[in-house]
């Protein structure tokens, strides 16, 4: 498919730079989704009766970690809501593109959340921490 020149209304970056920023944004939003699912799973396991002391899998969430995870969940929802509102209102025109500045800002906010969730997950168990931290 023929590529369209991206409109650079607020920035003078070239098209290649724009694509790079889009790619970084895509990675950031994917990581947000994946990170949220990890948190959701951990909290689900924490509350599940089948993972009582007789089960082989024991995740030890301290009250503080649990509180942090729930807080991160709430922040993820607020973040998405704010980013949606930041783009355009309900009567937006599809002819108005996202600017590079907006995309960079969104990516930075998403990455900030991603870093905090990784830091929190690495505190949970040594084995979990080892695996996750090695990925970074």
């Amino acid at each position: 498919m023929k590529q369209k020149q991206a409109p650079f209304s607020l920035d003078s970056a070239d098209e290649e730079n724009y694509r790079k920023i889009l790619t970084e944004w895509l990675q950031a939003i994917e990581q947000l989704g994946h990170g949220y699912q990890q948190v959701d799973l951990l909290l689900a396991v924490r509350y599940s009766p089948i993972f009582s002391s007789s089960q082989p899998v024991r995740l030890q969430l301290s009250p503080q970690i649990e509180s942090d995870l729930k807080q991160l969940q709430r922040e993820a929802c607020v973040l998405l809501d704010e980013l949606s509102a930041h783009i355009q209102g309900p009567d937006y025109s599809p002819t108005v593109p996202l600017t590079i500045g907006q995309l960079r800002q969104h990516t930075a906010l998403l990455n900030d959340w991603n870093q905090r969730i990784q830091a929190t997950l690495c505190l949970i168990t040594p084995s979990y921490s080892a695996n996750r931290c090695d990925l970074n």
């Binding site: 590529q3 959701d40 689900a44 899998v57 998405l80």
Partner: protein, 182 residues
């Protein structure tokens, strides 16, 4: 917590849709596919899709073994959890009813997107002399709308499946207790 998950997924879907509407014609086709894939999978159990770029792919390959090992633990936990909550008995009806509501919410959202894309298509086709770039955008809107329609059909099928399971459960309970089904 289910409600929170659903809210997150809905918000994610909404955000992706808004970004896609604004930037989709600025992506090359590979990134368009990536974004559309993301939109279509954001309500499934795994959002993460294959790596985007060659260098990222190379990095990921070296870490693949660790990732697989780690994911296998998560998969195991998820499977046990899902198995526990889906067993008939206490909480089963509430779980299935909640699933029905989640499916319906998602379907409503998809229908809203389809309607919105219909408006965009109407605007785009109303022009007498369409530029090549506008024709490309038209095709993209149409593709996205088609995929949403397919997704709605899949969601309805899943919803129907849950509905049937729930009705069978009601009937089995009614047979056991000698009362008429709900």
């Amino acid at each position: 917590m289910e409600k929170t998950t659903n809210t997150f997924e809905t918000l994610l879907d909404k955000y992706l849709f808004r970004v896609a509407s604004a930037v989709i014609d600025q992506f090359d086709s590979a990134h368009q596919d990536k974004l559309i894939h993301l939109m279509l999978t954001c309500n499934k159990s795994r959002i993460v899709s294959p790596p985007l770029t060659a260098e990222f792919e190379h990095q990921q390959t070296t870490k693949h073994a660790k990732k697989i090992r780690n994911q296998s633990v998560e998969d195991s936990l998820r499977a046990q959890w899902q198995s526990a909550v889906s067993l008939p008995g206490r909480g089963y009806v509430a779980y299935q009813q909640r699933q029905l509501v989640i499916y319906q919410t998602h379907i409503d959202l998809m229908l809203h997107y389809i309607a919105h894309l219909g408006k965009l298509l109407e605007q785009a086709t109303g022009k007498e002399e369409a530029q090549p770039s506008e024709l490309i955008r038209l095709i993209q809107y149409q593709t996205l709308q088609d995929r949403y329609i397919v997704k709605v059909a899949k969601l309805r099928a899943e919803q129907q499946k849950v509905d049937v399971q729930l009705n069978l459960y009601y009937e089995s309970i009614a047979l056991e207790t000698g009362t008429s089904p709900i």
